[in-house]
Point group: C2
Chain length 252, copies 2
């Protein structure tokens, strides 16, 4: 099944035309997190803000960039959630990751001249897009920005390595739930009650298992009293056993 055509939304500056707003929403962003921490001065931050393109909204199923498209830009998720997936020559799809607000997509494309995977909106998504040549050039002047780009890519290497290991279905699912919970908590949401934005099949694919196995593993977690799940609503009831299962994958 071919993907629907890439959506090229019009630039939407109007929502963010106010500088105060721009500075405010960017405090949760992967870039300014580090930039501010590094003590980046106001003019430097301005240089970043000037080159940002606020794009969106994308809607569920919209293609943000397509595998094989020429690589020009990376993007930070401003709102909503995104999945990235790679389709191989035999048509098998592999979801590379799910991306929450403040996280950056497109970094794996830095090596080549084309995106190696597609990015698809899981719900209503707003993005901050950065031309990669531009941000790389800016990074030549701003050590904090360069360091942050290196850190983000280093983190992606480690993330990709985590799920390469030889762990069983329960360990992989526990790691997914715990990691998801932590990421939500870091963004100020409840770590114990949340709603998944992706389908069960997406989660299963990401965790390298079938939907059936995922469903059964979910059921076992519920029967153990570790979680309560209804559809995409998940509540973590007992965190410890999940953390214990996920420990080898998450806490290296």
């Amino acid at each position: 099944m071919p993907l629907p055509p890439t959506v090229f939304p019009e630039l939407n500056h109007s929502v963010f035309s106010n500088d105060g707003d721009a500075l405010q929403f960017c405090t949760t962003c992967a870039f300014s997190n580090a930039c501010l921490a590094e003590g980046m001065d106001k003019t430097s931050l301005m240089a970043l803000h000037v080159m940002v393109e606020h794009i969106g909204p994308f809607h569920e199923g919209d293609v943000i960039f397509r595998q094989g498209d020429p690589f020009h830009a990376i993007a930070a998720v401003r709102a909503g959630s995104v999945k990235t997936l790679q389709v191989d020559r035999t048509g098998r799809a592999q979801i590379q990751g799910f991306h929450l607000p403040g996280e950056v997509i497109g970094l794996s494309a830095v090596e080549g001249e084309r995106y190696p995977c597609s990015a698809i909106a899981l719900d209503t998504v707003m993005l901050c897009r950065f031309s990669f040549p531009q941000i790389a050039t800016l990074a030549m002047r701003l050590p904090g920005l360069q360091a942050q780009l290196f850190r983000l890519m280093g983190r992606d290497i480690q993330l990709a390595s985590q799920l390469r290991g030889d762990y069983d279905a329960a360990e992989r699912l526990a790691a997914f739930l715990v990691a998801y919970s932590r990421r939500l908590q870091a963004r100020g949401f409840s770590p114990s009650r949340f709603q998944l934005t992706m389908t069960r099949l997406d989660v299963a694919n990401y965790l390298r298992m079938t939907g059936e196995t995922l469903s059964r593993t979910f059921r076992r977690f519920q029967q153990s009293g570790w979680i309560a799940a209804a559809g995409r609503d998940v509540e973590i009831v007992q965190r410890e056993p999940l953390e214990a299962l996920a420990l080898p994958i998450l806490d290296t």
Copy 2:
């Protein structure tokens, strides 16, 4: 079983004291490959050469850096081969990769302040070590160097993603053999006859399977007439079926 103590070999400049030699051997290196391609001038190359530490030799089993060690430097393999492996909290080890001359190790550590994995020599290894703070600073002045660092990290993201997929033992082994063959060919060695520097168990671990499964898969490849293997000596007899099996993993 704890790893043996880290080896801190004395700096070995004497072997490479001649500038002509230095420039020569670095033409195969991951850094100068790009630097030269980018038309980097002589003085820029000199800046790189000045900050290189030629270290080694390491011998089989020597620890080059240890998981948990403070991260200071990345290194390009000059000669020999290296494995990187991560041990989780439950003691399970996962080999992250095998690294041949010209390839760079340590990039996954860029995110944190400690190496997330250990690097161990598989045979006699010579390295070019670069202080990461120094090379990052130098990259602020040399766009080609910065671009190359980004490319190297982007490549590592994609490499780590490849083996995350849901492929069976035969596909993973075929991908390993084909990729190894290609890397040797790129370095001027025979792509059809070569000698593996790592044990069968290392390969099995890297490919997320047991030694027994690896052994059986090897045997099936031999019975099919695709390869001839005696110990660590491997000959690729029929490349096509192996390439076909590896296609979904390698050629995205």
